[in-house]
Assembly symmetry: C2
Homo-oligomer: 369 residues x 2
């Protein structure tokens, strides 16, 4: 039998705890999976809430484990207490498992193995219930994206090249405000929405600030997390108000074509690295790959990632090897970046099927608006 799986932390740090137990922990808890059984150690004040989750899990508290005094307040003792109670001496843990707890267990005679593989590979294959939840977040992203693009489309270009809506300057902030409001209305976290214009968009994670101008590429990346069930969506579009430069037109069409090439490869059984290589080759053919050594210019990130209870989770669509499976939810998001000039990224979130893939929620693509 596989070694019992141990995790210690919040569910933000270890979403697999929430996945397996149904319990969302704002403060650190101990989670153990032994065979098909799940166990939690939670503070006494969380006992009722942890006992009412939809999943089958045996819940302990420091008190029911028989801990006394200061041991009641220490995660190491909670963990040791649980393992002792269950007669377990050997566990496997994820790479990010707390070092302090691992050392404490080892000092008390336990064997702690760092797993080389994903401890919950089943998370990468979504159930229909999970697909429904991700679609709900993706739907919010699509509605917000349409509203943002409609707002920019309806703006006017003033004599200085600023975009104006009803006289007011259109900025990263004003577009983000529109998006955030819609995410909020859909019970999603309005956090870290990217609206980056011009040179700002050359940093893929730059959120963007200040006025938006005619003729520059504007990258809009919306990744809502539903506040009730915790599943994410992910969607990026790049638009230009007015006329784009011929260089940026070339870039946009290269990115759009690369996304199509990648999508045409996606299918259960295909290696994620094959999909990623198809993007690299598409950019290389157009001489747009960039310098792989400095990695600040051209295609500087991977092609995509899994989406679920984490915004970045398995499977990776990158140089990493691994076959896609039916039920994987992944992004396909090639991009090209030019420091001092700008960037273009197009991203959709899709579900892998046996015959190919389908959109979770489709969203049209426009460039010059």
């Amino acid at each position: 039998m596989a070694k019992p799986v141990l995790m210690v932390g919040t569910t933000d740090s270890f979403p697999s705890i929430e996945y397996a137990s149904g319990f969302r922990a704002p403060d650190p808890v101990v989670f153990l999976k032994s065979g098909t059984e799940n166990f939690l150690v939670v503070p006494q004040m969380e006992f009722g809430r942890a006992s009412r989750t939809e999943k089958t899990v045996t819940v302990f508290t420091p008190e029911t484990l028989g801990l006394e005094g200061t041991a009641r307040g220490r995660l190491g003792d909670w963990t040791f207490g649980l393992l002792r109670k269950l007669g377990i001496k050997t566990v496997q843990v994820p790479v990010l498992f707390p070092h302090g707890v691992a050392k404490y267990l080892e000092k008390r005679g336990m064997h702690v193995f760092i797993a080389k593989h994903d401890l919950f590979p089943e998370r990468a294959v979504k159930s229909s219930d999970e697909l429904r939840k991700i679609m709900e977040s993706q739907q919010a992203a699509v509605i917000a994206m349409r509203a943002a693009i409609a707002y920019i489309t309806a703006s006017e270009i003033d004599s200085a090249g600023y975009l104006r809506a009803r006289g007011k300057i259109v900025s990263s902030e004003s577009v983000r405000e529109i998006i955030s409001r819609i995410l909020f209305e859909h019970n999603c976290m309005p956090k870290d929405v990217i609206v980056a214009g011009g040179a700002q968009a050359a940093d893929p994670h730059e959120m963007g600030s200040g006025p938006l101008y005619a003729g520059e590429t504007i990258v809009i990346d919306i990744f809502p997390k539903n506040l009730s069930h915790g599943y994410w969506g992910d969607l990026t579009r790049t638009v230009v108000k007015g006329a784009a430069s011929s260089f940026m037109k070339r870039i946009y069409h290269a990115v759009k074509a690369a996304q199509q090439v990648a999508l045409s490869r996606v299918k259960a059984g295909v290696n994620g690295s094959t999909v990623h290589r198809s993007v690299i080759n598409a950019f290389r053919r157009r001489k747009l790959l960039g310098n792989h050594e400095d990695r600040s210019t051209g295609f500087i990130h991977s092609t995509g990632h899994g989406v679920g209870l984490s915004i970045h989770e398995a499977p990776s669509v990158s140089t990493a090897e691994g076959r896609l499976k039916a039920g994987n939810v992944i992004t396909i998001e090639p991009g090209l970046y030019y420091p001092g000039i700008g960037g273009v990224r197009i991203e959709d979130t899709i579900v892998v099927t046996n015959s190919g893939w389908r959109y979770l929620v489709p969203c049209e693509k426009k460039f010059e608006i």
Copy 2:
């Protein structure tokens, strides 16, 4: 000289990275503090953003560390590459440091010590800029609390005992909606707001759901995190629409009195455990302390916690020893809980001063409304 401090993870997992470097990392990064110098290793795509923070920090990428091949994608190699570059062989890490990275460093000849103390104790003493940020979040909590209580106050009690506003049933959800909207308008994360009525409020972290009734205690706990600067606020009130039972009146007044007792003890130089004990003694005198063994009834949590970039941070106002300092921001939040019946909690967030304390943002207390 103290050993260099090493952390590896996201800034959600290790807020001290953001505190020290000014960089918010959605994906894991490597952070090192050696003497007064700060270092970061970030993915190449984050290099520009990390280089532009307000704090002084030297930023590396896997590429500028000279890593090749698969080492460019591994946090262990990033960390080892940084330590090698700086000629560092010994580091100290927090308890929650990733075990996988620690073991990898040890295998390559590094010495990794788990710190027994807080590695950024300075975080517990807030600067005026930090106080301003926490006040901003606390202000949002106060405005949202007033709106929620006004809504419940204005509701009517129907013949079945439900609360109704303009004919519609008042529920945990409808109150939470009002609060969340205001938090959102104040650029705060509208997450996990607690509106728990009756027996639900006997679990301190139960969010609450369903209709609210006349005569039951309703615990409202609002803890907004500002989406721009990341600092939290924290505020709890307990109200009853209509007449409370004489038992719950007694409980409410005991909690309110215990909070006053605790506040009267708060001052720089006083031990946090002294403040906590004053609450225990106040409840004991009224024979309301509860069973400390099963800890499901009575006073089942600590008196308070620090608030800053984390919602729960140092200093603790609990059995843990440690003197309060001027500039600490703490909650004082005694509560009493009765399974099957309900709970009462009153919480304010205050700043400790040399002569006592002051509210960050005061908020009135009402019970029967």
